[in-house]
Structure formats: C-alpha cells, structure tokens
C-alpha cells in the first residue's frame, strides 16, 4: 500500500479511500491511484484491514458439519457458500465426524481466525461448547440437529412431522406392523424421528411392539445386520413395512432386503433422499430433506445477526417432502 501511495504520489489514506470506494476523492486522484494499483498488482490485505476497522469484520464465516464429504453436508455447505458470496464473505469448512471434542476444536480454530459467525451442525453433546461460543459474542446458527436448552437460532427439518408422514403413508397402504430402524439416539434428529414414528403408531392404532424398533444404529453395515435380524423371523412375526430414519441406514436396509430377496415384499420408506434412489428397483420412496433450503436459510439468519439483528433467536422449520418411487407403495401380503 505504501508502494502504491508512493507511485501515485498520494498519501496512504487516499489509497485506502480509493480501494474501499469511499466517496470524497477527486476523479484525478482516484485515476492515479487506480493506475498505480494495477501496475503494482496491489491487493489489499483483508486481515490487516479487519484488524483496524471499526466493525472488526473479517468477512469470513465458518461452517462445521458432520463430514463435508457426505451429500447432505456438502449441499448445506454449498448453499451457505452462495449466500456468503453475495456478502463478499468466504467460508471456512470443517468436519466434526460425530465427535464432540473435534467439533469443539474446529470451532475454536475458526474463532481464532476471528470469523464473523459460525454455522454448526452439532454432534450430540456439544451444547456447552456452543454456549461458550455464544458467550464470546460470535453469532452462531445451529442447523440440522437441534439443541433444546439453548437460546440460539436454529434451522431444522421437520423431523417429527416427516417421520410421521412416512409412517402414515405406509399405514395408508395397508400396513399395520411397521418396523423402525434409526440412528444413534444421542443425535437429536434421531430422537425426533423416532418420536414421529411412535406418535403415528399410537394415533392410528398400529401394532406397537418394541421388537419392531431398532435404534442406535451406526452406519450402513450395522443397519444391514439389524435388518437381516429383524426380517429373519417367521413371516407371521416380522414387520410388513420398514421406516428407516436415516440415509445410510436406508441403504443398509436395501442391501438386506436384496440379500433376502424381499425387496418386492417388504415396503420401505427412508428419511432423507439419496442420489440414485430412483434407479434402484423398486425405487426407494423417501421423505426428502431440503439441504439447500436449510443452508440458505441458515446463512441468511447468520448474516442478519452479523449485521446486528437483535431479534429473539428463533427456530426455522424446513419442510420435508414425500417422494414416491415404489418401495413405499408396496402392499402387505393378503391376510391368511
């Protein structure tokens, strides 16, 4: 910057004014500065600028998700990026891997770079740490997983409703004995989806049998094993339909059905869509989350806070959508 000022024969502040497009600079001066900037290939140092600036903004935000390599997280990240771009802000991305302490470290590392705000998909027990971040005055928006006892903006799928829709859908197709396979119950979304299942089972008077409910599944292989076990029973005893509360669990269950040759017998609805679900045979009916909408809304909320909004924190519910593809429309075998 000093070099630019020297070359243009002006003071430092004039360069600063031109670079920041402040008004009150004569066109002559501005032109001279612009020329010097171009000649030297000068680029302002955003960090140094943030250090001194009154609002202290770094124009960097952080996104902490479970794993940037998975489809859902990637889509959220991408949507956030788009909104950030419009605010001339760049995005630090980190994966927490369902691990509370890693999540904390990543968030800490982002805060050490003085991010303007943080979007976090919290793993189970990170509430305290999110509270700490809030206490530091860093705006935080929680996505995907909710954090019950914390006064913070949240953007969530309608998990309970969506799960209920799935079960209702199966019931409408004649099923009364519907199994549930779900994620670690340390994850809030898994609890909500299970609650949605239970509510509809009770409401519609479906068979309520704890042996139909398998929770705390972790990953595809685990889900496959659980499904094999659940469906290995006597046909009169096993469920005629399954609700899978998560993406990877659904895939594991599809594998199990294939192995048993039951993919056209047992109905299946999954929570959260996945690529190519429509190309499987039968196509997998799902209750789809709108990752993009979640990301966009979270980013908008975050920027509102960054720009000083002091409205009461609120929770935004992003609706899910049922996508019928065949597996959820299978009917139970005729009664004997």
């Amino acid at each position: 910057m000093r070099d630019v000022a020297a070359l243009a024969g002006v003071g430092l502040k004039t360069v600063s004014r031109v670079v920041n497009r402040e008004r009150g600079v004569s066109t002559t001066m501005a032109a001279r500065v612009e020329a010097a900037v171009a000649e030297l290939g000068y680029r302002p140092d955003a960090g140094a600028s943030a250090l001194r600036r009154a609002d202290g903004r770094s124009s960097v935000i952080g996104v902490v998700v479970d794993d940037v390599a998975n489809t859902f997280s990637g889509s959220v990240l991408r949507a956030v990026e788009e909104v950030a771009l419009r605010h001339s802000t760049v995005v630090l991305a980190g994966s927490a891997d369902e691990d509370g302490s890693r999540e904390f470290e990543v968030a800490q590392a982002f805060i050490d770079r003085r991010v303007d705000g943080l979007i976090v998909a919290p793993s189970g027990r990170a509430n305290k740490q999110i509270a700490a971040e809030l206490a530091r005055g860093v705006p935080v928006v929680v996505v995907d997983r909710n954090v019950p006892d914390l006064d913070v903006d949240q953007v969530l799928s309608t998990n309970e409703l969506g799960a209920g829709d799935a079960v209702t859908h199966l019931a409408h197709h004649g099923h009364t004995r519907i199994g549930y396979l779900g994620d670690l119950t340390s994850i809030s979304t898994a609890r909500q989806r299970l609650a949605g299942y239970r509510a509809v089972v009770a409401d519609l008077g479906l068979e309520s049998d704890d042996r139909l409910v398998v929770a705390d599944l972790h990953g595809e292989a685990h889900a496959e094993g659980a499904a094999l076990h659940l469906l290995g029973r006597d046909p009169s005893d096993r469920p005629t339909a399954l609700f899978c509360a998560q993406n990877r669990i659904t895939v594991g269950v599809v594998r199990a059905l294939r192995r048993l040759g039951l993919q056209d017998e047992i109905a299946l609805v999954g929570f959260d869509d996945f690529p190519l679900a429509d190309l499987l045979v039968p196509g997998v009916t799902v209750v789809a989350q709108d990752a993009q909408a979640i990301g966009t809304e979270a980013a908008r909320t975050l920027f509102a806070r960054i720009e000083g909004s002091s409205a009461r924190p609120r929770t935004t519910w992003v609706p899910t959508a049922m996508i019928r593809r065949g597996s959820g429309e299978l009917r139970p075998p005729a009664r004997r």
Copy 2:
C-alpha cells in the same frame, strides 16, 4: 493480551511466549499466565499474529473445486482437511462451477485473506490466472484437471490409462464396436479419457467409427439424450458396449438403457465410481478414481511447498482401479 499481561502481572512478550509455547519461561511465570488466560478466556488472534510473524503464515489454505456438493470434490476436500488439521491449518472452501471467472474470483478472495497456499481443480481456461497466482508467490497445487503448459505441482488420476483399461476390459469380453460418451472437451480430463479410448481402439483394431464417439456432453440429462440417440439406431449399426467418461454421464446413460430396456444387452463401463453403483441391476462396472488419495497427496505436496520446498514441480499420478459389478462383463450378442 494486554489484559492477560496485566492480570498476570507480566509483560506482553511473556504472554506471547507462553501462548506460543516458546521455551525459556520459568514455570512460575508460565503458570501465572496460564491462569490469567483461563480466567479471561483469552484466545490469541491468529490473523494479527500472522501479520507480524517472520514467516507471515496465516495457517489458512484454500481449496477451489468444481462444486463442494458433489461426491468427488467433497471427498477431495475432506482429505485435504485431514492433512491441514495436522498442520494446525484451516481450510477455505469454494466452488467454481465450471466457470473460469468465478474460479478466479474465488481464488482472488482467498488470496486477499492471505492463504498460505491454494489447491485448485481448474476449469477449462484458467491457466493464465493460475499463472498469476503463482507469480504472486502463493504456492498452488493443481488437482484433477491438468494444466499442460504450466510449471506447477499437479495431482491427477491416470485418466488415459484408466480409460484404456475400461475399453480393453470391454474388448476382452468380446466387444469390437464400443461407443464413447464424454464430457466437455474443454476439460483436460475429458480429453485424456478420450485419448485413452482412441489409443486402445487403434491398438486392438476395434471398430473406429466417429459416429460412436459423442463428446462435449454436459450433465446427466444431456448424456441420457445422447445415449437414446446413439442406441436408437438399427441393432446392427449400434455399439454393443459403451464407455462413459464421467460419473454423471454414466448415470444418464444408465437411465437411457433402462428406458430402452437394454441394461442387460449393452455392456457399460463408467469412469469414476459413484455411490450405489453396486446396488443397481446390473451393477455398474467402473474405473474408480481415488478422490481421497488425490486430496491427501495434493495437501502433502502443498505443505511441502509452504514449508519451503523448492524441488522442481512434479506431477503425481494417482492410479485408478477397475471395479467389476456386472454391466461391464456383459457379452455382445452372438454374430448372425
């Protein structure tokens, strides 16, 4: 930091020493400082520190990929993140969307934050801009797509070899009339894969017919249309096997085969694996890229440069692997 020094009753530099774990501080002092740090919840400002530090490192790197929401890019990003974590470095992520000018803007925005280095998957014509970044002295590693005339570290899949393997595989299963469907030829990988196809067609004396080669496809729908057209011909005229040079193209082609009911007649090998390829019927045989290895290797190379390596820039080739799943092992119909 001043507050910490005051509370601990020491000088600024002592706090700095403790925080940075420099040696030469008495345990007494260190303990007093630690206590003050904890009490005030002090966290050093990484940006301010970088501003003054001799090496000027910000401990931030940037990754510019096509789209952070797609599987391949997400996996690369994740692998880079892991290596970065071990170097106490955080990762700015950006999507260029196959758009040279957006790519440039994102890279520029990262450089303005004084990243220590950049990993870029360049869209077609960005060579000049990468050159500019190099000229600024920012270490750059190119991944996935190569940039022929530039002296820069690159980490690439063995595109030509892998494509050749795919075609050879089909030939070994009796096919002599093999179609090619590929990406925009502005993308270097697409050109290399086409070259691999052509080389093997020539080497093995397979039928060389320009009507079997469809390039410059963009996206799934486009590929599906092209495949419908290619396969819509008289059976005696159409290919008995297809090689798809990219992920989304493969999926589009699978859709086309399904619509025509030809999925068990026409053999298919795709370049780049995709989730659930094994659950389709028939399973889709692919030449898989190792996104994780690419990311890891790119990050390692980048950190070597950041740490001052001045070795000649080199290109690392990451091998592909053939995964047989059924579609690539179909035989051509018996000769009439």
